[in-house]
Amino acid sequence: MFDDFFIRALVAGLGIALVTGPLGCFVVWRRLSYFGDTLAHSALLGVTMAYTLELNIALSVFIISSLIALILIQLQKKTNLPGDALLGLLAHSSLAVGLVVIGFLTFIRFDIMGLLFGDILAVTTDDLLIIWTGGAVILLVLKLIWKPLFASTVNYELAEAEGLNPDRAKAIFTILMAAVIAISIKMVGLLLITGMLIIPAAMARNISDSPIKMVIYSIIGGLLSVVLGLFSSLEFNTSSGPSIIMASLILFILSLLNIKQSIKLKN
C-alpha cells in the first residue's frame, strides 16, 4: 500500500497535520510564529549535518533546532537585545551558515528547492514511521503538559502561584516545537513549516469560541489542507509545501467570510 509515492506523501502529511494543529494553536496564542521560523531556518544546518555525518535527517534537524532554541534562551539572559532581533540574528545566520556549508559539500547533490519547499517524492517508508511515532509522542507529551502550558499562556503568575510549574512546561514545549519541525521538514520544506503551524490555527481562531474547539478546527483545517494541497501538487506538478500552504490559505479566507456573515446577521 505504501509503495505508491503519493499514498506515502498523503499518510505523512496527515500525520504532520494532526501534530501541527494543536501545536500551532499555542504558537498563535503565545506569539511564537517568528520563533518557529527561526527553528525552521536553522533546520537547514541540521540537514547538511545529516548528509555530512550520514545521520537521519529528522534526528539531525531535531538536535540542531533544540540547540538553537537553547542558544536563544542563553542570549536572552545575557544580552540586552530585544527578542525579535535575537530571533532574526539566529534565523538568518543559521540559514546562511547552512547554505555556505552546502556550497562546500560539492560531492553531494542537494535538491535545494526540495529542502526549502518540500518534496512529496522524497517521503520514504522510514519517514512515515518517524512521522507517526514521533507525532504520537509529541501529542502525548503535549497532552501531559496541556494544563500548565495553557494556564501560563493565560496568566503566568496564576499558573506559578497555584503550583503548576509553567517554566518546565515552556521548556518542554520548546523541545516539541523542534521535534515537529524535524518530522515535517521533508514534506513541507523549511521555509513553509511555520505556515503549516500558523495558518490552520489562525483559520480556527476565526470560527471558535473555546480553546478546545480551536484545537479541533485547527487539526481539521490542517488535514483538509494536506489533502487538497497534495492532490493539486500532483495535478499541477507544483512543490508540495506551497500547495499545502495555499490550500490552508484558501480555508483561512473562507473562515473570514464566515465571520463577515455572522456580523451581518447580528446587525
Binding site: 493565560v154 496568566n155 503568575e157 503550583g163
Partner: protein
C-alpha cells in the same frame, strides 16, 4: 512539615529586590487556617510583592518563606486576557484544576455571575471579570486564598457583598486568607490581623490597633481618623441574653 499551629504560609524577614531597588523588605507574617490577614498600605508600598513572595512567584528573595500547602487560590491584581485566546468563563474556571460542573455553577452563583458562564472572557466588564476571578479562586476549595485587591472595579453594594462572601468562605472552608486592600475601612470587620506596609512593615496587629497606630495615621491621614469615628462610636445600649436591649 509542622502543622501544629495551623500555619499555612509564613514569611520570615522576607524581602525582594528588583533592578537594585527594594520593592519590599523585612516582612514577617503568618497566615493561619481560618484566619484573614489583611495587607494595607499606599501605592507602591509592596503589598502585591509581599503576596507574590508568599505565593512563591518571586524566587530570588531575601529571608525565607515556609509554605505548608499546595492548594492555593489566587486572585491577582492585574490580569489581561489576550484576544488571541478564545476562552469562555467556564474554560477559565478549569484553568488550573479540573472541577465538576456543579461546583463551577455553585461558585459562579455565589459571586453573582452564573449568567456569564458561556460568555467569552474578553467581553466581560471589569467588575464582572473580578467576580469571575474570585469564583475561580474559591471554586477549587483552596486551603490558602490570596486576594489582591479582589473587589476593584466592583460597584459599592457588590463590594460589601463580596467582602461578606469572603468572610463566609473563610469560615466555611476554614481556609486562610491573605487579603490585599488599600482601604482598611471596608475590610476592617472581616479581618483578624492587619499588616500595614510601606516598603517595610510599618505596624501590625488587630484592625483597631493598627487604626490607632500613629505611623498608620501619618500614612493615611484623614482616612484613618474616619475609620476611628466609624468604629469608636459610643454604644448607648447593651445586648442582653434574651434579645432584650438595655439603654445605658
Amino acid at each position: 512539615m509542622s502543622r501544629e499551629n495551623n500555619i499555612l504560609v509564613k514569611l520570615n524577614n522576607a524581602g525582594f529586590k528588583q533592578n537594585g531597588k527594594w520593592l519590599v523588605e523585612g516582612v514577617t507574617l503568618a497566615v493561619e487556617k481560618g484566619k484573614i490577614v489583611t495587607l494595607i498600605g499606599p501605592n507602591g508600598s509592596g503589598k502585591s510583592t509581599t503576596a507574590k513572595i508568599a505565593l512563591g512567584i518571586y524566587k530570588n528573595i531575601e529571608g525565607s518563606v515556609e509554605k505548608y500547602t499546595n492548594k492555593v487560590g489566587y486572585v491577582p491584581q492585574k490580569i489581561s486576557i489576550d484576544w488571541t485566546l478564545p476562552i469562555r468563563v467556564r474554560d477559565f474556571m478549569l484553568l488550573t484544576e479540573n472541577i465538576k460542573e456543579e461546583k463551577i455553577d455553585e461558585a459562579l452563583s455565589l459571586t453573582g455571575v452564573i449568567h456569564l458562564k458561556n460568555k467569552s472572557l474578553g467581553n466581560l466588564s471589569g467588575g464582572e471579570f473580578q467576580r469571575v476571578l474570585i469564583a475561580r479562586a474559591i471554586c477549587k476549595k483552596p486551603e490558602l486564598l490570596v486576594l489582591d485587591e479582589p473587589v476593584q472595579g466592583v460597584d459599592y453594594t457588590g463590594e460589601i457583598a463580596l467582602y461578606e462572601l469572603i468572610k463566609k468562605i473563610s469560615d466555611s472552608l476554614h481556609c486562610g486568607i491573605l487579603l490585599i486592600s488599600h482601604d482598611l475601612h471596608t475590610v476592617m470587620t472581616a479581618t483578624d490581623h492587619v499588616v500595614c506596609l510601606n516598603g517595610h512593615v510599618c505596624c501590625s496587629g488587630s484592625p483597631m490597633d493598627v487604626a490607632r497606630n500613629n505611623e498608620y495615621k501619618t500614612l493615611f491621614g484623614e482616612q484613618a481618623s474616619q475609620i476611628l469615628s466609624v468604629y469608636e462610636h459610643k454604644h448607648d445600649h447593651v445586648h442582653l441574653d434574651e434579645g432584650e436591649i438595655k439603654k445605658n
